[in-house]
């Protein structure tokens, strides 16, 4: 057989070669690491990154801070200025640049754009770069994008865009900006973490996103642009701007395939706004909440297209809906003017209904209205049908439409319908088995809306037509008491409420008769005084005992952590206190309010805003809301009645009084019901406030 190696000499050569090859080239001691070839895959990826960056460089511009805007720090936690140099992407070679509102806040119409260098950076380092004025042409307020137009001398380079919905979690994501260095782009590399984030609007990436690359492109490994990097916040983490996320491993980009169809509209100068529907739900839990329409706002697209309280949403534009979060996912990317096909399951009918609606940019101004019905109290889990199969009336508001229509205490409302929505003379009524359902039906209505009620009492059953009236501006003292003679019932008791993770306990004066009707809750914040002793609480609440017993309202006192001022952190204890109270006695969730005196009053306002799904009313005694607070417009799913109480002791100076009147005006303009109430001595104060808590059940 012919051996490969004929001579022994060649054996030695081969052996030598082999030994050389396998000799460990480990330059551990002494010189620099010599010629070790790095893994080929990593090098190939590195080359791909660099090719992608070089390929996109001519399409990434820098947008200078304009120097025109009044730069305000809008809540960015690490004090990153909202206005600074930013990046932009060429979307039209004749000078169309896409960027984000970070570069161009709403009060800016022009910015300065610096174009990339024409030749290789290193050779022309000192070459002045072409700078142009860019004018704002269009804005997408939903996605926080801005389209600019400038007039370059030569055509700009358009990059390649990924137009299909072709972005996959796990694929490379290359983020490019031009903020650090005008002559070279900067890069951050990561992967696509998820798609459809921010309620369906954004791609999430772990590439380092920050003001360094806002407005810049997000590329795939081939160097094609699949997104524009945008400062969107993680709302569930309580953020309002996206700039807090800069060091976190989370960043967002708007997908190109959503943007490209909008560019023609932006070029025409349109301002694209988020689309609004006008419905509210009974719960704020997006994950578990069933997508049942609770309130329909008068005059909204929902009302106009025939959506009704009680409708269960099953599909939107063909996409199956199982929870409130799904509705948000379907609606949030939509713009005003977009049409929707909503499929609902309505109570009386068995076949699903298909409703077409067009979203609006602005819902008609809304102010709460009322019929004058105050239902009997119900505890929290009131989904069970009561034995009466309807809503039992406790009392009616004086001079209200309900009173004038002859509705009496102990009448039972078994069905209701809102007239303009149904256009029929004898419309089918939705059966109302609980106050929540009735509240949902009536909650979105504005004044002068006609409602049909089916009423049953011990003698007859009849239908009554009533028209809603504006929500009252004054409180009423014609509130019936639960117990006219308080001696007949067990007296109220002081209860200590231990709060987890808090050393000092909260206290409550709870009405006696544990098995009686559910209690209302008034959380009172006095001047901060630190820990409260049982003795102090007993003395403080002594003037409230009668009112608490008479109107069955639990008075709750929360200790401040600091004896000289209320702190934001104290708000945590408020929520926990109410939770602890719920373990001790049955609470009617529609009758919970916060109140406070002076510094405690301002704190009560903060608490009511923080717990705005729990507190239905807030009373400020001798106090005003914090300066420069943004007042949210009233909406049906957020019932807030603001009461300003004044005692004889406080005389406000001129400036304070002007400020105070201004606050009342601002609240009224936002559609929030506001009442003023002079309060006399402690006992009268207790009485009026407890009556007011009972009034919070007003429909």
């Amino acid at each position: 057989m012919k051996g490969i190696f004929r001579r022994s000499a060649s054996h030695r050569v081969v052996l030598a070669v082999w030994l050389l090859c396998t000799a460990s080239v480990n330059p551990s001691h002494g010189a620099q690491a010599t010629q070790q070839a790095p893994p080929e895959q990593a090098l190939a990826e590195q080359t791909a990154f660099q090719n992608a960056i070089n390929g996109i460089a001519d399409s990434v511009v820098r947008i200078e801070p304009s120097g025109l805007s009044v730069a305000t720090l809008q809540g960015a936690s690490e004090a990153i200025p909202n206005v600074g140099p930013s990046s932009g992407v060429v979307v039209g070679s004749d000078g169309w640049i896409l960027t984000t509102e970070f570069a161009v806040p709403s009060d800016i119409e022009e910015v300065v754009i610096t174009l990339p260098p024409k030749k290789k950076a290193t050779e022309t380092k000192k070459q002045p770069l072409e700078r142009l004025v860019g004018r704002v042409i269009g804005r997408d307020l939903n996605r926080r994008l801005v389209l600019l137009k400038c007039d370059p001398k030569e055509p700009l380079t358009e990059p390649q865009f990924v137009r299909q919905k072709n972005v996959h979690p796990g694929e490379w994501a290359i983020a490019v900006g031009r903020v650090w260095n005008l002559y070279e782009p900067s890069v951050a590399i990561g992967v696509v973490s998820a798609v459809g984030r921010c309620w369906g609007r954004a791609i999430q990436t772990d590439a380092a996103i920050s003001p360094v690359n806002y407005g810049g492109p997000l590329l795939n490994i081939e160097g094609h642009v699949f997104g524009i990097i945008a400062p969107l916040p993680a709302e569930t983490a309580g953020m309002s701007t996206g700039t807090e996320l800069y060091d976190s491993g989370v960043g967002f980009a708007i997908p190109m395939h959503d943007i490209i169809p909008l560019i023609p509209r932006l070029k025409k100068g349109e301002t694209l706004k988020p689309g609004l529907l006008g419905i509210g739900y009974s719960t704020t839990d997006p994950i578990n909440g069933r997508p049942v329409v609770e309130t329909v706002r008068t005059g909204s697209p929902a009302a106009e297209s025939g959506l009704q309280s009680g409708d269960l949403i099953t599909e939107i534009n063909g996409r199956a809906i199982q929870r409130i979060a799904d509705v948000r996912h379907a609606l949030t990317p939509k713009l005003a003017g977009d049409a929707l096909e909503i499929t609902v399951q309505r109570e009386e009918r068995t076949a699903p209904l298909s409703i077409r609606t067009v979203l609006t940019d602005k819902l008609p101004p809304w102010k709460r209205s009322m019929l004058g019905i105050v239902p009997m109290r119900q505890p929290s889990q009131s989904n069970a049908k009561s034995e009466n199969a309807g809503v039992v009336i406790n009392w009616t508001w004086p001079n209200s439409p309900a009173e004038k229509a002859g509705i009496q205490p102990q009448d039972i409302i078994t069905g209701a319908a809102v007239l303009p929505q149904t256009n029929e003379d004898d419309p089918p009524l939705r059966s109302t088995t609980s106050p929540d359902q009735l509240a949902g039906l009536l909650g979105g209505l504005t004044r002068n809306t006609e409602v049909v009620l089916k009423i049953r009492n011990s003698e007859t059953s009849r239908k009554v037509r009533v028209t809603t009236a504006p929500f009252p501006e004054k409180t009423s003292n014609k509130v019936p008491a639960f117990n006219s003679t308080i001696e007949a019932v067990p007296p109220p008791a002081i209860v200590k409420l231990e709060i987890p993770e808090v050393a000092e306990p909260s206290w409550a004066l709870v009405p006696g008769q544990q098995d009686g009707p559910p209690v209302g809750v008034l959380v009172f914040f006095d001047e901060p005084s630190g820990t409260l002793s049982e003795n102090a609480v007993t003395i403080w609440t002594s003037s409230w005992r009668e009112a608490v017993a008479r109107y069955r309202v639990a008075l709750v006192l929360v200790p401040s952590s600091d004896s000289s001022s209320w702190r934001q952190a104290d708000l945590n204890r408020v929520g926990k206190t109410i939770g602890a109270l719920a373990h001790q006695c049955k609470i009617d969730p529609t009758r919970i309010a916060f109140a406070g005196s002076k510094a405690g009053g301002t704190f009560a306002w903060l608490g009511a805003n923080r717990f705005d799904t729990i507190a239905r009313g807030v009373c400020l005694i001798d106090a005003d809301i914090p300066r420069r607070t943004r007042i949210r417009r009233a909406s049906p799913d957020r019932f807030r009645w603001v009461l300003f109480g004044t005692t004889n002791n406080e005389k406000m100076n001129q400036e304070g009084s002007q400020q105070y009147q201004k606050t009342i005006q601002r609240l009224r303009e936002a559609g929030v019901p506001v009442s003023e109430l002079p309060l006399g001595d402690e006992t009268e104060k207790a009485s009026r406030l407890c009556q007011w808590v009972e009034s919070l059940g007003l429909l």
Binding site: G3, G30, A37
Partner: protein, 358 residues
Amino acid sequence: MTTRTQHATSACSRILRLVISLTVSGLALYPIPVLGGDITAVSVDAASRVVKLYGAGGIRGLESYQTGILVSSSGHILTVLSTAIDSEAIDCVLDDGRRYTASLVGADLHRELAVLKIEGINLPYFKISADSPRQAIGTRVLALSNLFGVAVGDERVSIQHGVVAAHVPLRARRGSHEAAYRGDVYILDCTTNNPGSPGGCLINWQGDCIGMLGKELRSAENATWLSYAIPTNELALSLEAILSERNDQPPVDERRASNFDIRSLGLELVPDLLNLTPPFVEAIVPDTQAAEAGLRTDDLIVAVGNRTVTSQRGLRHELSYLIPGDPIQLNIIRNGRIVLIDLGVVPSVTEPRGKGEK
């Protein structure tokens, strides 16, 4: 050949073929540090040249531990200048647990670097060369440092991966302290702004030391925390200066040497009475550069190049960075619109010409 020799020969060939084929297949399965390098080997090898340093600092949130790079076989260590280093005895621990006491050899106040010395022989080290090439954007890198002090005793320093994000001149600060070094650095796409990271080593995937991790600073431009590294060629200059005991002065910010006064170009600003008087143009002298460039009375200067100015003092500050030959580009606001003004270049002889009568 006789049968015996033939047998011997063929036996040898068979053995050799077997060995070679085993070797080749072995290479295909296990990356031996010869073909298709192993990143583990690269980083382990680099880590043997990186040391953990512990000083007696630790006041007011300034960490007393950091990282250093061995730069000579006898034990010179390059690291960042910090309060931890500024103590009598510094503990130095190698990746195999060997402990040394290090002493300060010298410091470079300009680049905020220091050289320490331990008594060692035949230690693994990185050769720091002034010819080290500039790394392109997107180059994959590994950062080796003792971030958060998690490596203790004989543990190897930690390895992070990332890429070179950008090249910029350093403009950074921490609190009110502004960083002295204003030369070029690599901005890293890798979170190296951590306690313990300063002084760490930046390598590429070939195992070359390409830079040293910098201090925990914020960008003076956009207030983000900076992850940056000083390139090797700068490290080489610093090392050489310290070892030769030369007092390496910073290139005396020639940028500030210019006493260029914009009024020499023919524009008068409104009187600077208040601390924050905005730079409104009061008058333009005819037949001057300012007039030719199209400036007019009541124009408001809002930026020089891409640097925003909001006051005359700010304007003077930004102009002081211009050196002869630099272009003078202003953004002005006229009647609510932005106008871009090109005022030519900074003259080489700063002689006021055409100065108005004032």
